[in-house]
């Protein structure tokens, strides 16, 4: 059974903004299929009595009080920006 098609890989690549060559698409289709198959084994287990686990850490309610902490200066914030303009991060055109 094919768990993932080349079309799925193309879709995921598009969502991740990855430009893949045809060869890479073939490679990843195979690799992703293997990974999903492996994960699929877990689905064979009966988990009706197991609550969904979104975290392995048994922590809840990690909260902080509503207090202001020091910020970066705008120079610091922009220091790694490839391009800046008017105190902002300049980005290429969007549409």
């Amino acid at each position: 059974m094919t768990v993932i098609s080349k079309k799925d890989v193309e879709h995921v690549a598009l969502l991740a903004r990855l430009a893949l060559t045809d060869e890479e698409k073939e490679t990843f289709t195979g690799q992703l299929a293997q990974i999903l198959e492996h994960a699929g084994k877990i689905q064979a287990l009966d988990t009706t009595a197991v609550p969904p686990t979104s975290h392995v850490a048994s922590l809840t309610n990690v909260l902080r009080p509503d207090e202001i902490r020091p910020c970066l200066t705008s120079e610091e914030a922009l220091s790694n920006a490839p391009k800046q303009e008017d105190g902002g991060f300049a980005v290429p055109k969007i549409v």
């Binding site: 879709h11 969502l15 903004r17 979104s54 975290h55 850490a57 922590l59 809840t60 309610n61 990690v62 909260l63 902080r64 009080p65 509503d66 207090e67 202001i68 902490r69 020091p70 910020c71 970066l72 200066t73 705008s74 914030a77 922009l78 303009e85 008017d86 105190g87 902002g88 991060f89 300049a90 980005v91 290429p92 055109k93 969007i94 549409v95």
Partner: protein, 481 residues
């Protein structure tokens, strides 16, 4: 053919907490770009978000005030998308386990309210602001954009209604009511123009009797109550026209252009949303302690429905007046403060809803920013009650007081513009007017009551409106007896 209108709303409200949702940067508006930012809200590698406890409490309060159930266990998820307004390339939101679900809000007038379902309330973070650079200043035609992340990470609550609204007016009433509740809770400034309250609408039509929903469009960019109503009316008409001509409605997002008075299709290529939500591994679940939820419920402030009922009962106001004052918190607060200062509620409410409301509207002023305060209104009403000024003079003095912030008593003292109640001074003028108008006296003696109005009018004219109409009336009758 008439179609049934189906409207559901999605409201985003920015909380007015001190700090952001997941970091200690301040919540600001209009600051210098990128000065309220830190490695967390800039999405630097290796940082950890930590939830603002105050934002969780505010979210729970919103849920409770909308009659929702508070989820004992709620979680954050990553909503993945690429857009430069989010530095992480995902927005932290809630997906399958929101903090509040299944509530309602009653909208409409007493006796004919409709119950609008609330699907959910969830917590997320706001995005940054994009400034498009280029010839037009709009996204289309821009050759680059500049990002300010000051708003990125500000606590944002999303409130989703059921598709229960049936007219544009009802949708507007829902939003007005919701805003008044949020203001009563004090959790947000709810300023639609500044974007701290934003509303999107899902609109579809179907034949009456259908249980399936029709194809919907999502309308965005409605920045005022009026814009919401106009946009919905436009969209309903557009869809009706399509359907009656045998065409189909296309599921898409449409942008309301307030100046042009129309909705236009937003590019639909990227429409197929695939956000690939998954639990955020950086944030653990929030478990709501039932006792804590009950403590919050007990501490809920008086909400608009209860306030309208109380204002009507305590102050003897009409249902309509009480409702307007309850839905507009600052106006209601103004009234209560005025009454607490000793003014009669009915008279105070009258001034508030007419003279003051008109002046606020005319000068485009928020009541909180007005120089005319409850103290000014108390002062003005006292002058009227004492007979120092007439109702007509009060309107003039009010305008001066509103414009300058000076107390009415001070204005009266300075101008010496007081009502003439002194019988001796008035007596002379009354005698003069009676002597000059024998016909009116004749008419009055013959039972034509209208004649007294004419005589009073003459006296008011001679005194430039300063005579007390009451005193004049009494004097004329006494002299003719």
């Amino acid at each position: 053919m008439a179609y049934e209108i189906v409207i559901g709303l999605e409201i985003h409200v920015e909380l007015n907490t001190r700090s952001k949702m997941f970091c200690g940067c301040p919540v600001t508006f209009g600051e210098v770009p990128n000065t309220a930012v830190c490695p967390v809200c800039l999405g630097h590698p290796g940082v950890l978000p930590v939830v603002n406890a105050q934002a969780v409490e505010a979210a729970a309060l919103i849920g409770l005030s909308l009659n929702c159930a508070i989820a004992p266990n709620n979680e954050f998820a990553r909503k993945n998308y690429f857009y430069p307004d989010m530095p992480k390339d995902y927005q932290i939101s809630q997906f399958d386990l929101p903090i509040a679900i299944g509530g309602y809000l009653d909208v409409g007038d007493r006796g004919q309210t409709r119950r609008i379902g609330i699907t959910r309330v969830h917590m997320e973070e706001d995005t940054g602001k994009l400034i498009h650079k280029g010839a037009t200043g709009r996204i289309h035609g821009a050759d680059r954009s500049v990002v300010d992340f000051n708003r990125a990470g500000v606590p944002l609550m999303e409130i989703v209604s059921e598709p229960d609204m049936r007219t544009a007016t009802e949708a507007r009433a829902f939003l007005v009511k919701l805003r008044s509740i949020l203001l009563a809770l004090g959790v947000s400034n709810c300023n639609m123009e500044e974007g701290s309250l934003r509303c999107d609408a899902n609109v579809s039509l179907r034949e009456f009797g259908d249980t399936e929903l029709g194809v919907k469009t999502e309308v965005k960019n409605m920045n005022s109550f009026k814009a919401l109503q106009r946009a919905l009316e436009y969209e309903v008409e557009r869809q009706t026209s399509l359907l009656t001509h045998g065409e189909r409605v296309i599921q898409e997002t449409r942008h309301w252009d307030d100046a042009g008075g129309a909705t236009t299709s937003m590019r639909s290529k990227e429409e197929a949303h695939d956000y690939r939500y998954f639990p955020d591994p950086d944030l653990v679940a929030i478990v709501m302690d039932p006792a804590e939820v009950e403590r919050l419920r007990a501490g809920l402030p008086e909400l608009p429905d209860a306030r309208a009922e109380r204002l009507g009962r305590e102050f003897g106001l009409s249902d309509d007046d009480a409702k307007i004052l309850a839905l507009n918190k600052p106006l209601g607060d103004f009234l209560e403060e005025t009454v607490a200062g000793g003014a009669a509620a009915g008279k105070a409410a009258n001034w508030l809803l007419h003279e003051l409301a008109a002046e606020l509207n005319r000068t485009d002023t928020e009541i909180e920013d007005a120089a005319f305060t409850p103290r000014h209104l108390i002062d003005l009403l006292q002058l009227i009650d004492a007979g120092t000024i007439s109702g007509k003079m009060a309107k003039e003095i009010f305008k001066t007081s509103f414009a300058t912030g000076r107390l009415p008593a001070a204005i009266v003292k300075e101008t010496g513009n007081v009502q003439i109640t002194d019988t001796d001074a008035l007596g002379k003028i009354v005698d003069e007017v009676l002597a000059a108008n024998p016909q009116a006296i004749e008419d009055l003696k013959n039972g034509q009551e209208r004649a007294i109005g004419f005589l009073v009018g003459q006296i008011m004219r001679l005194t430039q409106g300063k005579a007390s109409p009451d005193a004049v009336n009494k004097l004329i009758r006494a002299k003719l007896r």
